[in-house]
Amino acid sequence: MKQFLIFIKKEFAHVFRDPKTLLMLFGLPIVQIVLFGFALSNEVKNTKIVVADYAKDHASQQLIRKIEASNYFETERSLKSATELENSFRQGKIHMAVIFPVGFENDLLHSGKAQVQLIADAADPNLATTLISYMNSVVREYQLEMNKDIVLPYVIQPQIQMLYNPELRGAPNFVPGVMSLILMLICVMMTSISIVREKEMGTMEILLVSPFKPILVILSKAIPYLILSIANIIMILLLSYFVLDVPIKGSIVLLFGESILFIITALSLGVLISTRTASQQSAMMISLMGMLLPTLLFTGFMFPIENMPLPLRILSNVVPAHWYYLIIKAVMIKGLGFSAIWRETLILFGMTLFFLAMSLRNFKIRLA
């Protein structure tokens, strides 16, 4: 036991003496939270649009004021020619144009039908659809106000309720994603590199010749990263609570329990990689290419998995971070209990056992 503690102490010394490791451990989560929380937000806010009001009547003015009141748009009123508008679109100065034709109110009041033209820059299709649907809802609201005294014969009114995240903010989606990404990076990459480093340096042989048990070598390599990862989760959760204003709705104990399970999954994957590689470089390449990319792609926090073709949807199931992301979202954002995530937990557990069995097998083959 004392030998074990001495070993763990040594591992911590390695971590705390290497500025690069430290930066990655504690700098990366902060940068990612800030990036995903603020810079890479997929919410639409204050998008530049142009309103060309050729009607200049009461109705068009009223509607424009409604548009201006919305904080989705930053509205500029101007009567640009078609060419000027096109130039603004080309230069990326505006993302949407709203054009009221001459006689807007007249048409509305007398023929009962008026037209307003919406032109959107669909080079960014997501932004264009979002803008159009926001604008549609503004128009619809105005229309409802106009007709509030009139009873339509048949009306279907969709009652919309945005669950768990009513303000449709990006942060509640990103925080669980960042957590899975960071844990994957730290646990898989750092553990595999630190084990492979001992092989590369030749110190592994010395350790294997010593009475210290090989399995304990691996354990004492993994435990410091388990502790550091837990510290990291605490840091991410504090950041997301105080900086991004993302509450933790479910049980904190459950959240940590599931995180520790995922950390162990990632650690055993790191150990598995280390048993198959001989140099730090290749361990890093495998961890980065094999872990980081799939985690980014298939976790579901950047690209919705539902939209992917079937083969990719199937592939996403073998990415451990995918399940962890589902679990954390359920517990943290939806506030659900264990009964809602037992299946995901079981899958992670199974993956862990698989990785551990594989690394144990490789370890034995290497010694024989």
Partner: protein, 246 residues
């Protein structure tokens, strides 16, 4: 004389390749045993089997009286090992390295303190106690490495090309340390391909293509092969080699 290492037809095959071919030899307590051979002759493989890093394909061996198949744990407690790769942690201080290795061999805190003071004094490294190992010159690292490998006072210490890449003066100093350990009764099992070092050994075995071709004292070997130096003995024997270095 007491035997501390004994092998009988010890063999290691990797697939079709026979790295070590039925080697049989004995090493006596307190001697400096040189285990020589060209690169790829099978020295390191044989040494790894004796240290418990590899399992032999067939044959028998005992180390410090313990069977390599049945008592690997007891063997581990009785031996020290220094690999060809430099084996200290560069990002730890001299003292931290000593404490770590002494610690994993189960030495008590008080023993660790005493031992490391003694070791630092012997190597004249007191002023470097708190310096990172990375700051030491290679020769010093190697001397430190050796002292750390024997800090738990093993009965046998295995040295795998311990002086690779060091200048002759430092090599000489390194051998002084080996003599000192040997004079205290420790058995030294050393591989090298510097033939001048072979002269320092009590007995020498010459390995060619996985088999032991000759085993005797350096003076006896020179007499048998009518050679002036161990280098000539080696050239004479190595000529038979079919294998090229791997």
């Amino acid at each position: 004389m007491e035997t501390v290492i004994q092998t009988k037809q010890l063999t290691k095959k990797f697939g079709d390749f026979t790295a070590v071919n039925e080697i049989t030899f004995e090493v006596f307590a307190g001697e400096i045993f040189g285990f020589l051979g060209a690169n790829g002759a099978g020295k390191t493989t044989a040494m790894k089997i004796l240290c418990g890093l590899l399992k032999p394909t067939s044959g028998q061996a005992t180390v410090a009286g313990f069977d390599i198949y049945k008592q690997p744990e007891q063997i581990k407690r009785s031996i020290g090992y220094m690999s060809q790769k430099f084996s200290l942690y560069e990002d730890l201080t001299v003292y931290e390295n000593i404490r770590f290795y002494a610690g994993i061999y189960g030495l008590r805190s008080k023993q660790i303190k005493e031992k490391s003071e003694e070791l630092l004094e012997r190597l004249n490294l007191q002023d470097y106690k708190k310096k990172l190992v990375a700051e030491l010159p290679l020769g010093w690292k190697q001397k430190l490495s050796f002292s750390v490998a024997i800090i738990h006072q093993p009965r046998i210490v295995f040295l795998d090309e311990p002086t690779g890449g060091v200048d002759p003066v430092t090599r000489r100093q390194f051998w002084d340390l080996i003599y000192e350990a040997s004079s205290k009764g420790m058995t030294i099992f050393v591989t090298t391909h510097y033939m001048d070092e072979a002269e320092y050994c009590n007995r020498v075995s010459m390995m060619v293509d996985g088999a032991i071709e000759a085993l005797d004292t350096p003076s006896e070997l020179k007499r048998i092969y009518k050679a002036n130096s161990m280098d000539e003995v080696f050239q004479e024997l190595a000529r038979k080699a079919v294998r090229t270095a791997d």
